[in-house]
Symmetry: C2
Subunit: 334 residues, 2 copies
């Protein structure tokens, strides 16, 4: 497979590049010797923070702007080889309480961005981060790419629309787009202070503080978790494969880890690794959240393995170890 | 099954009620003795026209406004029993040339409308017209409701998002929504003058004028067509069934006709019925349209038949006969 180091010398634009996955992507590209440009609107409720790009021995262009800003995006796209389109609203809960805002960020802005790419840089490769949330409640496990997409919340509907746009700009307009449907991602540079960005950053925050981990329901619900370093590598591999015209424009692939764990196992591993006195407790589902919950999830990752010759290199326990270690050395995240 | 006459005495709001399906719905409800309110934004490129509600021995409230106008919609929803939510942008082609506009009308406006319903009239039944376009290019025929939804154009993506919103406002918020995925609809009060509203009104216009019917490709592509009078009846049946709480909130059903015809057969029947000297000719696909075409379509209508005890009563030839007759008596449509 291609690696992020193979993008040395290329010009890359990272949307949402001050956020969790985006900043890890931007840093890895910069370290690899790519020319990196970042656009991020630093939406207050999101996870973006300029400090995510600090302590880096490289120069990045960073513009604070929405991806729907045609003039800024057009400037940033000049000469770009690869776009890593990672920007988005990720909170399922907030999408239900403020659906119009989620729509604006995940649908309207994505469409405006793709239109700008089509008009000003249609030969760029566009690697887009979608989510396994688009599948909704699985009808069978493991969930492969043929599984019907029937989202359970507004965020899932809107992310799916954004992904479909990427597909159509591939199949109809010929732009080399590829979408990765990400499972739960964890690792350094995730916003730990806010709720609503998934359960993993909440768990990390609580074990760092020695607080009790609350697991909803009976804790048997299954998830798979992938470390952000693995995500960075596979996004790079997808970019390289697209650049060689070896992926059909508009393709989409599941991206996750074959290691399936229950929420209780995930919580217990975090408590053990942190060794901060945290323990786990079961609590009933909060009102409303159960209605948008998807039950067990396990992804089928055959396609990404075969297409990109990729598999994750970091198992959950060692990933949590390095993650806890990172945050203990970077206390501002708390 | 329930019939539109069973809605006598109920208070109904019809969105897009000056357009093709909407005006037929509004008229049938008014004739049946319902109190009918209509909201229509009369978007210039669409098919809405105030004359669609003329020559009707009943009084309807008609407001010219977008369904995203919270104040107007709130007023109109006061005391409403059933909403027939029919408003929308329908042109596949225009959705590709002006995707932002399609998004504004089919996604943002629909979400704003549902939020207003949730806030001010959450016990109303909402019957929503979706489209078989959400399925994209069929993987198997006939297409049932379990067929994956992978739209081939922006309009399909956006209509699917609007449908998913209706589903979530049912499953999460408990509003009694139901979406009907409509196949090609024809009949009286369709805008004939514009292109981009489907091939059927173009064919009708051309046979009325004695012009040649142009069929794209080899003409073998299969479609099923349903008369708007049948659509009105099944929308009413869905409303009645929902009002009796006999449909799960957020349900969705295919709606079409078991009579499968090729485009060439459809064109030939129209030429024969009109007897105006029109003939049929095959022409190559226009550039771009082939990329968003879905190939053959045939729907599986088992669910609507079993759930609503409904089947269409009008075969294509007799439906075309009465349609041609209608437009000859109403020449302003040309």
């Amino acid at each position: 497979m291609g690696s992020v180091s193979d993008l040395s010398g290329s010009v890359c634009l990272v949307t949402g590049g001050l956020g969790f996955i985006g900043s890890n992507m931007a840093r890895a590209l910069a370290v690899a010797g790519a020319e990196v440009r970042v656009i991020d609107s630093l939406v207050p409720q999101h996870g973006g923070d300029r400090r995510n790009l600090e302590n880096l021995d490289a120069t990045l262009v960073v513009r604070e702007s929405g991806i729907d800003d045609e003039r800024t995006v057009t400037e940033l796209l000049d000469g770009v080889d690869v776009v890593f389109n990672i920007a988005g609203q990720v909170s399922h809960h907030e999408s239900m309480t403020d659906p119009a805002r989620d729509l604006d960020l995940n649908v309207r802005s994505q469409l405006a961005f793709l239109e700008t790419v089509r008009r000003s840089r249609s030969d760029a490769v566009v690697v887009h981060t979608s989510t396994r949330q688009v599948y909704g409640r699985p009808r069978y496990l493991p969930v492969d790419e043929d599984h019907p997409a029937v989202p359970r919340d507004i965020n899932g509907v809107n992310k799916l629309a954004g992904e479909f746009y990427h597909r159509l700009y591939g199949t109809v307009h010929g732009i080399r787009t590829v979408s990765l449907r990400l499972t739960n991602v964890y690792g350094p540079r995730q916003c730990l202070r806010r709720n609503g960005l998934g359960f993993l950053p909440v768990f990390v925050r609580r074990v760092l503080r020695g607080e009790t981990l609350e697991v909803f329901g009976d804790g048997s619900q299954r998830r798979d978790c992938v470390h952000v370093d693995d995500v960075v590598e596979v996004l790079a591999a997808a970019a390289l494969r697209s650049r060689e015209n070896r992926l059909p424009p508009g393709d989409f692939l599941n991206l996750g880890h074959s290691e399936s764990l229950s929420l209780l196992e995930i919580a217990d591993i975090m408590c053990e690794v942190a060794a901060s006195g945290s323990t786990t407790t079961l609590v009933p589902w909060p009102e409303g959240l159960d209605l948008i919950d998807i039950g067990d999830f396990a992804g089928d990752y055959t396609k990404v393995r075969n297409t990109l010759d990729w598999k994750p290199s970091i198992d959950f326990r060692s990933g949590v170890e390095s993650t806890i270690d990172f945050y203990r050395r970077s206390p501002w995240y708390l």
